[in-house]
């Protein structure tokens, strides 16, 4: 059974990490109420913590420890016996493609491999809910693909934050658009992009009819069969993506 991945997407400072830290009982909410499995994050944190894994955005591996040691140590901390932790670690490292590097100190691993080490922790812990906060921020495209592939090995419910639209599109069943601490839209990728069917985005430095400005660029949405005309005029034609949901709402998205 594969994981159900829900993505919270929003620009830097939208409040994604704050939301995740509140839900994973790391940060006390200033107001409101949040529950996980019906358990209150403030009053029933202890019960929630047994059922979740949270991989912080800036989590880093301990340089002198190997992936094998990092993951096993985490599992023993979660209550696994040493033997069970070892077995679960080996399985998880195999699943995320870190088996061969399992005994290399983390200092010698690439950025992608280090992130996969944390995905292996989440995988081995076998939790009901996994929170992944911007798991691929700062990684090169190849490493990002590797981490995506590792994330797809996870099971259970995954709540993932990202500001990469492509990541949300590749991984998620459901997306929440987040801005200034509030959900501004939600749905499947398909339902969210419903208004953009058979359209493309035209980007130009010149003012066009029916266009609107985002920064110094003018944007217009046109049917796909009109795209050739704009290409001839030197404008850029972009495939519709989740970026367009933010553009349409006038959000200056940083990616």
């Amino acid at each position: 059974m594969s994981a159900r991945i829900t993505t919270i997407i929003g620009r830097n400072g939208a409040g994604k990490t704050t939301l995740l830290r509140i839900l994973s009982t790391q940060l006390m909410p200033t107001s409101g109420k949040a529950t996980i499995f019906g358990l209150d994050v403030v009053h029933q944190a202890k019960e929630i913590r047994k059922r979740i894994v949270s991989i912080p955005q800036e989590a880093s591996t301990i340089g002198i420890l190997t992936p094998m040691e990092q993951v096993s140590m985490y599992l023993v901390g979660r209550g696994f016996s040493t033997a069970d932790a070892r077995k679960a670690t080996l399985d998880a490292l195999e699943a995320v493609g870190l088996h061969e590097a399992r005994n290399n100190p983390a200092d010698t691993l690439s950025g992608g491999m280090k992130r996969k080490c944390f995905v292996a922790m989440a995988l081995a812990a076998n939790a009901d809910v996994i929170f992944l906060d911007e798991p691929t921020t700062g990684l090169d495209p190849i490493s990002r693909l590797e981490v995506w592939s590792a994330i797809k090995q996870l099971q259970g419910n995954i709540i993932l934050t990202t500001h990469y639209m492509e990541e949300a599109e590749k991984l998620s069943e459901e997306v929440f658009l987040f801005e200034s601490g509030s959900i501004i839209d939600r749905g499947t990728i398909k339902s969210l992009l419903k208004g953009f069917e058979n359209k493309v985005r035209i980007e130009s430095y010149r003012k066009m009819d029916n266009s609107f400005r985002v920064g110094t660029i003018y944007i217009r949405y046109v049917p796909q069969d009109e795209a050739t005309r704009f290409i001839k005029e030197g404008d850029s034609v972009r495939k519709i993506s989740l970026d367009d949901l933010f553009i349409m709402r006038g959000v200056d998205f940083e990616s």
Binding site: L27, K50, T61, I62, G77, G79
Partner: protein, 232 residues
């Protein structure tokens, strides 16, 4: 330890240097104090300097956040880290035990007393390090603070000299009480009694035992309270 030998060498540098200085300045007369006190200094300074590690793990590696969202409690986390700090003291302890054997300092009872003192000392000083760590907002600030505190809390107390040097002076009692905010002070005085370096004064013995025990409990309780397990 195999992968970070510099850490162990660094922790041994101050006590071994002071041992050398004490040996030269006193023509060997106070070398036994320096051996016993060196072990106290070694363990206490590793405990205090672990504030750097605790801060680094919390702010830089986000290791603490990783464990908050699990069944690990703040006490589990602190105890586990404390045990790892103690593990780093082991090579240094072996050096001091060897020196102690060389100078005929040890018997079984002394060794057990010293072991108890080391355990209390690592717990109390590690608790101090957690308190410091929980108050620090940026990792760069911690290194300077622990360097200063480590010297104040491990070298100034009567670790390398007889505690009576202080007690025999005007207001000596008060100075010793003030110094006792560092667990190294009661630990060093108790060690001087245990190893026969100073005649046992029972009132001082009981007082120092109480101070060390109470301090350990208080520091650990404060650390547990302050540990930013869930940020506000």
């Amino acid at each position: 330890m195999k992968r970070g030998p510099s850490y162990i060498i660094a922790s041994l540098t101050t006590p071994l240097s002071l041992l050398f200085v004490v040996y030269i300045l006193t023509s060997g007369a106070l070398v036994k104090y320096a051996i016993v006190g060196g072990m106290i200094t070694l363990v206490a300074s590793i405990g205090i300097q672990s504030a750097g590690d605790a801060t680094f793990l919390r702010l830089q590696l986000r290791l603490q956040d990783l464990y908050v969202a699990s069944r690990v409690s703040p006490t589990d986390y602190m105890l586990a880290l404390t045990m790892s700090f103690l593990a780093f003291s082991i090579p240094g302890i072996i050096v001091y035990v060897s020196l102690g054997v060389l100078y005929n300092l040890y018997n079984l009872v002394d060794s057990l007393i010293m072991l108890s003192l080391i355990v209390l000392l690592i717990f109390s000083t590690a608790a101090i390090s957690f308190i410091i760590s929980s108050l620090i907002k940026h990792v760069r600030n911690v290194w300077g603070i622990v360097s200063v505190l480590s010297i104040i809390m491990t070298v100034i107390p009567p670790t390398f000299y007889p505690y009576t040097y202080i007690m025999s002076r005007n207001s000596g009692n008060i100075i010793i009480y003030l110094m006792s905010f560092s667990p190294a002070t009661p630990a060093a005085i108790l060690a001087q009694f245990a190893f026969g370096l100073q005649p046992v004064v029972y009132s001082t013995l009981y007082l120092m035992m109480s101070i060390l025990l109470i301090e350990t409990v208080i520091y650990f309780s404060i650390a547990r309270y302050l540990t930013r397990w869930r940020e506000i």
